[in-house]
């Protein structure tokens, strides 16, 4: 079968999914302390509405969206707010956080089914906003903002992101396998809100079992959803590449999927949408893949937001050997951090404990062009690198530095082992200052 993929650039990193792709979802026991940050999402941090010493119920709102692009935060447990303090997240962002001590007895909550079938579009959107749902693929963009379509704009394709192209991660894979019906239900809710001509689930071929499970269920219930199996290539899970791979369109520089008539929603997000509407359950937990060659028993764990990395690692049997690196997210775009006290957030798709690749020696740029061939955006990373290292930021911006998504294809391919992504991040920051 000739599978499609995105056309430009891309790389084939080792998959390393075998650590956790056969491990069924398990629930993390409630830790003795949760640290829930106000900055769970892209955009402005939420504003706390509870104080130190307050008792909160499971799923109760503890912070409110503070601007248009922002999202509400809910307590994952019933418990007492012991403190409000600064916390540094895995991506080095420091923000306010609630320190919550869970009650010894946790009530059963959000187990009763709600009938939402006759909800209006507005009501659905309102519920999504109220339940603090953000994109769970990693970017954590508030979902209600994404699927509120401005007047005069039309969506003709809803693309569901089941690609999970980052190596190691298997959270979305397990979700599609084990919660097939629920995921499809969530997709149909998004479908009702957007009313697109086509709804397509993009899945890479290393998750064929999930694709078959979805297809079977779709056929059984004759849902208007297509499953599109994609040829492996990183970064296929990026919105721009996924839209290119599934419906063949290209989003121009600086534009959004909506500008080509498409909206992309991650499968994990659609599951959260389902739970929010069918049970009224806010987004206060997520699936995290705890994996890597240094994890004793890699697993896919349903963890409350605010659980600490050390809780997840202990649950996964601890370290089998001392890791060189802890990474939050996937290995291509994830953030390395060192503090196991760091809490997870809505965007934490994985926790990796890995040994570093063999230490290679850096050389000068050979002008080999591997980074150029790998760049899915059509940049010339080697040129940008040399401009940025010579502090010529404006020239770098004129060479489309801001289009760089930091996907890592260039650094991954570079035989000289140059820190190309690092330079891009730095160059963007310096360029914005001017």
């Amino acid at each position: 079968m000739n599978l499609s993929t995105f056309r430009k650039g891309g790389v084939h990193p080792p998959e390393r999914k075998e650590y956790a792709n056969s491990k069924a979802l398990v629930r993390l026991p409630i830790p003795s302390e949760l640290v829930v940050s106000m900055s769970q999402h892209l955009g402005a941090p939420a504003k706390p509405i509870k104080e130190k010493g307050d008792h909160v119920e499971k799923g109760e709102k503890i912070a409110l969206a503070s601007s248009f692009i922002s999202a509400d935060v809910h307590s994952p447990v019933s418990g007492t707010i012991k403190d409000i303090r600064k916390v540094t997240m895995a991506n080095s962002v420091t923000c306010d956080a609630f320190v919550i001590e869970p009650d010894p007895q946790q009530p059963e909550a959000f187990t009763k089914k709600v009938d939402y079938q006759d909800y209006s579009k507005e009501k659905l959107l309102e519920e999504i906003k109220d339940k603090g749902i953000v994109g769970l693929g990693g970017a954590t963009f508030p979902l209600h903002v994404k699927i509120t379509i401005p007047a005069g704009r039309k969506v003709d394709a809803l693309v569901i992101n089941g690609v999970e192209c980052e190596p190691y991660l298997t959270a979305d894979h397990r979700l599609m396998l084990e919660r097939t019906k629920e995921v499809l239900e969530g997709i149909m809710i998004c479908n009702r809100i957007l009313n697109p001509a086509r709804t397509i689930i993009g899945i890479e071929e290393n998750k064929k079992d999930a694709a078959l499970a979805l297809e079977k269920e779709i056929e059984l219930r004759s849902l208007p959803i297509e499953v599109c199996l994609l040829r492996m290539k990183y970064p296929q899970g990026d919105e721009k590449q996924l839209i290119n791979a599934t419906i063949g369109r290209e989003i121009p520089s600086g534009k959004l999927p909506l500008d080509v008539g498409a909206v992309v929603v991650n499968v994990g997000t659609t599951y959260a949408v389902y739970e929010a509407l069918a049970y009224g359950k806010p987004l206060y937990e997520r699936i995290v893949t705890v994996t890597g060659d240094c994890i004793a028993q890699p697993c896919n764990v349903i963890a409350p937001i605010g659980a600490k990395v050390k809780n997840l690692i202990a649950f996964a049997g601890g370290f089998s050997k001392e890791p060189d690196k802890l990474v939050s997210g996937g290995p291509m775009m994830g953030f390395a951090f060192y503090d196991e006290e760091t809490p997870i957030a809505k965007g934490t798709s994985g926790i990796l404990a890995i040994t570093d690749e063999k230490d290679y020696r850096k050389s000068a740029c050979l002008n080999c062009g591997k980074c150029v061939a790998a760049c899915p955006i059509g940049l010339v990373p080697t040129k940008l690198y040399s401009l940025i290292t010579h502090a010529r930021y404006e020239e770098a911006m004129a060479n489309h530095l801001m289009d760089c998504k930091e996907c890592g294809c260039c650094s991954f391919s570079c035989p000289a082992h140059l820190d190309l992504v690092h330079a891009m991040k730095f160059g963007k920051r310096m360029g914005r200052k001017k």
Binding site: K8, V11, P13, P167, K240, G248, R249, E250, I251, P252, S253, K255, P323, D324, K325, L326, V327, P331, M332, M333, G334, F335, A336, F337, Y338, L352, I354, D356, E357, Y360, R361, S363, A364, C365, L366, N367, C368, G369, V372, A373, C375, I377, G378, V380, T382, H400, D403, E406, G408, S411, F412, S413, C414, P415, A416, H417, D419, V421, H422, K425
Partner: protein
């Protein structure tokens, strides 16, 4: 030790040193053939150029307080210099070429990655124009039993000399070689008898011709080139556009100097002679001095092919491939400036999006 660094936390394993070693591996079979047909003298030439290149790199490292020997690029340069030498050459010439390549062409411009010309090729061109007669006298390979002569010009320059004397109008290069009494190997004679393929082409393909140590065996060079393609050290763009454009031009115009008219060029014979194959797979593909985009590589390769054809067919010296590549090296920054990749989502003016 636990480290924190910017993503990505994975690497493809591509590595400068490994790239250089792959090139060395790809060149070795052809070197071995050169030593086999030209004798130990050829091995000596290779050893001298290799040693001179590595020693120069080492001494310059001392001067600039760097350590660059590990990247193995000096080994590639030294080997290529040696391969581009006639087997019987005085040993100081490859030494000079290697020193020039490493010290002048590479080091003074800032070392590996900053040189504007392929060091080995610039080294060869430097000594070619300094010691032209020694650089154009070639020993016969041991596979050809010729009476009386121990050395002769390469087929390429022989045909050129005869053709420019005007005594051979209307003859193909094969006929000229036969007329001049150029011997062939008994193996090639048998192949010709069995298949009808000219013995001269058979010899040129397998490396039974007088020529530089490392450029005679086209078979082994092509295999080396395929190895580099498989190891993803090079892409097909430069070799294919180089050889392709050369072949087309040769076919259309190559017959003119011999008085054969248009569309009578001898494509196969021309490709198999001289340093074209070595140049197309190993010299023009030098990463440092060729464009970074695939589009740019195609332009670069076509330029190399066109200039090689022009110099070979209409130039007065037999030196064509290396000068052509050198010329295109100069154009490389300009190609890179104008041949940028298409930005994702960018639509050509007036074009519709699919």
């Amino acid at each position: 030790m636990r480290t924190v660094s910017t993503s990505p936390h994975l690497h493809s394993g591509a590595d400068t040193q490994r790239i250089m070693l792959y090139v060395v591996y790809a060149l070795l079979p052809s070197c071995a053939w050169g030593v086999f047909v030209f004798g130990l003298r050829a091995a000596l030439v290779l050893a001298v150029s290799l040693a001179a290149a590595v020693l120069t790199e080492y001494l310059l490292d001392l001067v600039s307080k760097e350590s660059t020997l590990w990247d193995c690029s000096a080994i590639v340069t030294g080997l290529l210099v040696g391969m581009n030498m006639p087997p019987a050459i005085s040993l100081y010439i490859p030494a000079i070429a290697s020193v020039f390549a490493i010290a002048v062409v590479k080091w003074t411009f800032g070392g590996l990655g900053a040189n504007w010309a392929n060091p080995a090729m610039a080294g060869r061109v430097f000594v070619f124009f300094s010691f032209t007669s020694q650089m154009s006298t070639f020993s016969l390979p041991r596979t050809i039993k010729a009476v009386e002569v121990a050395s002769q010009a390469s087929p390429l320059s022989l045909v050129k000399t005869v053709a420019s004397s005007g005594q051979s109008v209307g003859l193909t290069s094969m006929q000229i070689l036969a007329q001049q009494g150029v011997a062939t190997s008994s193996f090639a004679d048998r192949v010709q008898a069995a298949t009808g393929i000219s013995a001269y082409n058979v010899d040129a393909f397998f490396g039974n011709i007088p020529g530089c140590i490392g450029e005679v065996s086209k078979l082994l060079l092509i295999l080396g080139g395929i190895y580099l393609l498989m190891k993803k050290v090079i892409t097909w763009h430069i070799p294919v556009s180089f050889i392709g454009s050369f072949a087309v031009l040769t076919w259309v115009f190559g017959g003119l100097p011999l008085g054969l008219g248009f569309f009578h060029g001898e494509v196969l014979a021309s490709i198999l002679r001289g340093g074209l194959i070595l140049g197309a797979f190993f010299m023009a593909t030098d990463m440092v001095t060729s464009p970074v985009t695939h589009k740019g590589m195609l332009v670069f390769g076509c330029g190399c092919g066109a200039f090689t054809f022009l110099f070979r067919t209409f130039g007065s010296l037999p030196e064509a491939t290396s000068v052509a590549i050198l010329l295109m090296n100069i154009v490389t920054p300009t190609i890179d400036r104008f041949m940028k990749p298409r930005l994702f989502g960018e639509v050509k003016k007036g074009g519709a999006q699919g």
